[in-house]
Amino acid sequence: MDVTGIVCEAAQAVLGLALAPGVVGLIRRVKARLQNRRGAPVWQPYAELRKLFGKDMVVSPNASWVFRAAPFVVFGSTLVVYLLVPAFITPLPLNAAADLFALVYLLLLGTFALALGGLDPGSAFGGMGSSREMTIAALSEPAIALAMLSLALGAGSTNLGEIAARTIANPLAALSAGHVFAFAALFIVMLAETGRLPVDNPATHLELTMIHEAMTLEYSGPCLALIEWASWLKLTVFFTLAANLFLPWGLATSLTPAGLAIAAVTTVAKLGVLAVAVAVIETRIAKLRLFRVPELLAVSFVLGLLAVTSSFSVR
């Protein structure tokens, strides 16, 4: 990887980190408007981050180095995932390592670290959050795997650059049944993995209804800022994957200013559309009971199976 590559990746990282709070701010704003409230401005999450970085950290006496290291591992792994996703340009300088399975397992690394961080202070809420989070993560794995298998069947490889390139080269494939089913499966898994309704309510204050929030109850100050930012970045990663693997037009295939400008505008637009879609879904659908979530994930698995069957029959 040469200097241009490093600069591109660094720029992508900075842009991703800058956009992620905005995406979540937009979702919250649209939800508020749909619920007839005025809502906080779209840049409220940025203010939250600034506030948290300025605060002190309070750490439980039972916590060990695992508790202190977990936010960094979550943030680092999510950022590495964002570096491998084709957000603005394709193929990326790091395309040699940009494999769909590597992505999924890197996200699992973040979940693993956060679950351990939730168990460390020894509170019942943390344990509950970790237990539920690992349940949902484990049950969403087969659905993701099948959705990825269908994408890989169409493109002949699990490499992200390859998948995006095949869809760009063959626009009609984007409307094929395999793609549509895979998109639906991935969308449901995204709602589960990023802790949105109907799986988990990100705005709840009741500890017994929390999944992701329960694991982060003990974190405060800069560590909490890192974890929140990482979860917003994870949402942005999923949005970018959904947008740029299934509808990759607009991605810059060469480093020209015009191409990059178009890529920036189209990606931001796609993120905006997906954010509004998620906000509408969150407003319309009530939260599922924890033991109904496996049924939702089973639906996602079946959609993935249909996607594989459709991709297989047209390959």
């Binding site: 390592a97 795997a145 298998l149």
Partner: protein, 678 residues
Amino acid sequence: MTGLSPTLFWLMVAGYVTAASGLLMPTARLTRITGAIGAIAGGAAGLSLACATLWTGESLTLAAPGMIQAAGGLALHLDRLGAIFLAIISGVAIPVGLYGGAYSASYEGRYSTRWMALNVGAFLISMSLVTAAASAFTFVLCWELMALSSFFLVITEHEREESVSAALWYLAMTHAGLLALLAAFYLLGSGGADGSFAALRAGAAQLPPGTRHAIFLLALAGFGSKAGIVPLHVWLPRAHPAAPSHVSALMSAVMVKLGIYGLLRVGLDLLGGGPAWWGTVVILCGAVTALTGVLYALVEDDLKRLLAYSTIENIGLVLLGVGAGFLFRSLGQPEAATLAFAAALLHAVNHAAFKGALFLSAGSILHATGTRDMNRLGGLVTRAPWTAAVFLVSAMSIAALPPLNGFVSEWLLFQAFLSGVAHSQASIAGLLTIGVGALALTGGLAAATFVKAFGISCLAIPRSPEAEHAHESPRLMRAGMLLMAAYCPLLAVFTIPVLATIIGALAEVPGLPAVPAAFHAGLTLHTSNGVAAMSPVAIMAVLAGTLVIVWMFVRVIAGRPARIGDTWGCGRIGQTPRMEYTSSAFAEPLRRVFSQLYRPAADTAVGVARPESPYYIQSMAYRTQLHPWFQRAIYEPLIAAVERAAAWTRRLQSGSVNAYVGYIVLALVVLLIVVMGF
């Protein structure tokens, strides 16, 4: 290097014999020292021998036709396939030797450490000779020696009923497997070939198809019971926890792999592959084994039994790869077959590393606290930091988290399945899709299992006085654990040379071409399907760089020291260990989701204060138990039938001497008739 292989071989034998000679040492301390030095020396020699064979391609051949002439004598021939497994055995023997040097001290005075040293030496040498065996007789002899020495090791703590029962189950199952193996070898030689593998290989092509199918199924049953295929696995969750921890590490990390070795040797090498249904059967067995193993590991509260079930799960994953390999070979996709076998073998190597480290750290926890029950552990990350660190690294590897070695082999298994799906007919593609789904589900459940195992055992507050007074293990045990754990990141960084060696070893088998894989800084596989690329080194580097940058950034912006404050308790007054999550509680959501498979038995007893009204509840007791259903469905009827038959034949033992004399006369008469008839 022609002369070096025999030298290394005899050095290895000498090393393990030295370890076994601990039997003759006058003091217990000398026994421990000779045991440790012998195992380390033998392991180092064995590892060098295996590497020499793998890299130079020379095979070691030794024959002793004079020994046990009636059965055809002993013959040894170490080729590359065997050398991979010899490398696994020797590589694990070195840290286990270090660790056992200090761990066996806890048995002194109660049980015989001399006998344990003899059996460990015999175990190591018999396993090494199994990988080099070149005739059916040598193979079976060394196999049985391996089984007997490990039986004596499992029954080390013979005053505990649990160990005795576990050892008996193990003895029965291993000999049932041996019967299947003997039948398989007998059928292999039924074409008139003598016992040597070369003759069997040549003669196997002429055998009728029915015999070939029978041989394969018998080999699957026999080797599968050693490897731990469901439902022949019932001895594993009993025997592995009962054995001393360094022996559990050897059994789990190494011995079960010899089951895989046997299956590859008989199915792939001697029989030369078969029709598509062979591969299908193995894939289905592998999927069922993997899912059953991980599902039972998830709900286990005993740390070592959790690790034993996790071994079953990983053997299932290896079998998925082996089955895919057989399937692709029979369908005429040789490249995909090589990829599948290579993925399976790489997973076997990786599993040896992280399962060995997990068992050694579990032994260290047992040594520190005296208990294996996770509901009584906790807080070890501050009291035994090295143990906890080894546990964490190996737990992350087994959960297939990048950039460690478990992720690489799971990725490779996915790629192997993927390259097969694209080119197959619909039914095969459906089977492989189910395989991919099973692989993904096992991976997710394994991650949940090891969050539970590490989080409950090592983090938070100690749940019992034993855990509170835990201490770190002695230096030698720490050294052994750290060496074994160091294999995990090393195998991740050096994936490419290891994979290249494995593919080179597979290329010796006719019909398996070398997969055109480009190995630069990353691993790029060029399959007939397309290009797949992954780079554990790149991911490691980028992850490390990102972590450093983020850490420095946070230090600069918000580098104030943290304040210490109580854990949030929602208004409660104090914090006791009873308020933490337990191991059973952690697994409860998944247990509920899969309750149709587990069929747990639950019992609630409510004690009432006044008999006339059920509303004044005084006490409540909730008990729940999980009995593996295959034991109820398969083994209990079988054992009952055997006991009935034994009770019936007991009628012959009437106690009357006249009856016994009558039996002898009857036997003599029958023998005379038979002899005169021929």
